[in-house]
């Protein structure tokens, strides 16, 4: 991963430079006009968040059953990313909602779901911070259950109420508007790569912290 890190930084940086230019040049959608352009980053953050949730769930399972430290670091790093991308997505969604729905906040299915998922992973971070010794294990349980409950949150909130653009928008977008579809995919790829990048950096930080702790302990002995 160390060798790949710098090239990856360059690639992601290039993608994030290219994306706004491509978005600026993309066609206007006839009903939403300018505000529709938020969508490219908005959708991409949710893709990144989904990836982070999956990583957190899987890493938590591995940590709980195998006890490998690196998976614990992966889990905490991805939980933090879920919160970061979740909050970013909520902000961009709120900006869009102000224009499209006329309100900053709407108890719509996807908004509620995103809020709940952010809450779950904030809970994960809280138990790590305030759980005292051995809290990594408790957090791992929260990671597993949080990841497992996400599909249910998705489904239940969907049934509860929906005024959000349906997921069918995504399905028909490819046929109706191939240019935009490609751009959405490009932005999503950029965000997912950014997730990988941040994850690696954060895991490295965690590894160094743990080494420092060990050195302190060795010094005291």
């Amino acid at each position: 991963m160390k060798k790949l890190f710098v090239p990856l930084v360059v690639v992601v940086a290039a993608m994030f430079v290219a994306a706004p230019i491509a978005i600026a040049e993309a066609d206007y959608e006839s009903t939403m006009l300018l505000v529709q352009k938020i969508f490219y980053f908005h959708f991409a953050t949710w893709m990144a968040m989904t990836v982070a949730i999956a990583v957190c769930g899987i890493a938590s399972v591995i940590y709980l059953f195998k006890g490998s430290k690196i998976s614990d670091w992966c889990a905490v790093a991805s939980a933090e990313l879920v919160v970061v991308f979740g909050v970013f997505g909520l902000f961009s969604g709120s900006l869009w909602g102000r224009k499209a729905w006329g309100v900053w906040w709407q108890w719509d299915a996807r908004v509620t779901m995103a809020t709940m998922l952010v809450l779950i992973f904030l809970g994960y971070l809280m138990v790590r911070k305030y759980g005292g010794p051995g809290s990594e294990k408790l957090a791992a349980a929260m990671g597993i259950f949080g990841a497992a409950t996400s599909p249910f949150v998705y489904k239940s909130v969907d049934w509860w109420r929906t005024i959000h653009p349906q997921t069918t928008v995504m399905r028909t977008l490819g046929e109706k508007w191939p240019g935009a579809w490609l751009l959405v995919l490009f932005c999503s790829a950029a965000f997912v790569l950014l997730t990988v990048l941040l994850l690696t950096a954060r895991v490295r930080l965690e590894a160094m912290r743990s080494r420092l702790d060990e050195m302190y302990l060795a010094l005291e002995d």
């Binding site: 709980l64 709940m116 779950i120 138990v127 809290s135 349980a141 949080g146 949150v153 239940s156």
Partner: protein, 229 residues
């Protein structure tokens, strides 16, 4: 010979029920708390003419169930911690998942006992026709309780070791059990319509069943590594 899974679960359940029958501490305090909850809601949801807000009953019932359930969860494990019996329980030559199952059964029974009194009370105070479809309501409450208690029992058990367990339990439990609360409230609200919307309620019962299966399985699977120090 090691006792079987069902045997151990029933033994743990019997132990918990015996303690509870002696003191009746959790049942009484939980029930009183639930009643107090409903009273507080009545100040918020009963309008000036003395008529409750339309459709408030379903939400009030489920919030009272969830809040009082959290209280009961905290207490059952606090009792184990206070008597320092949890370690003994875990040291017993029995399978850990069976111990969890016993604890879970006890929890479900406790919550059910509260619900048996709480549901008619909310129906009475808020003029809610809860008993138009008693079987569907029972299914919603039963499955919802299993889902809530399955996650709650595991979390309460693992939090026993921490100093901040009282605050951490609701912080962890509520977000994870959001689907249960949504399904319970929406399903019950569908039953309160006139005429009751049975297909909607069955839809939510389906979701609750899937949730229960997934979470009871997950909890049985993770209880062992979580309780090992």
């Amino acid at each position: 010979m090691r006792p079987g899974f069902v045997e151990v679960a029933l033994l743990v359940l019997k132990k918990d029920l015996a303690i509870e029958f002696k003191s009746r501490e959790i049942v009484y305090t939980t029930l009183f708390f639930a009643v107090a909850c409903v009273m507080i809601f009545s100040f918020a949801f009963v309008m000036e003419e003395g008529v409750p807000v339309q459709g408030a009953a379903a939400g009030i019932l489920w919030i009272a169930v969830a809040f009082s359930g959290t209280l009961a969860l905290g207490r059952t494990f606090e009792r184990e911690r206070y008597g320092e019996t949890l370690r003994a329980l875990l040291l017993a030559p029995a399978s850990r998942p069976a111990i969890y199952a016993g604890k879970l059964l006890g929890m479900i029974l406790l919550m059910a006992a509260t619900e048996v009194i709480l549901t008619p009370m909310v129906a009475f105070f808020f003029h809610a026709p809860f008993f138009a479809r008693p079987l569907l309501l029972a299914a919603l409450l039963g499955l919802g309780t299993i889902g809530f208690a399955s996650v709650g029992t595991l979390f309460a058990a693992m939090l026993v070791r921490t100093r901040t367990r009282d605050v951490l339990l609701p912080i962890l439990l509520y977000p994870v059990t959001i689907p249960v609360i949504i399904a319970g409230v929406r399903g019950t609200a569908a039953l309160l319509q006139s005429p009751p919307e049975e297909p909607v309620a069955t839809l939510w019962i389906g979701l609750l069943t899937a949730f229960d299966v997934v979470f009871v399985t997950l909890a049985l699977w993770t209880f062992e590594p979580l309780m090992t120090e």
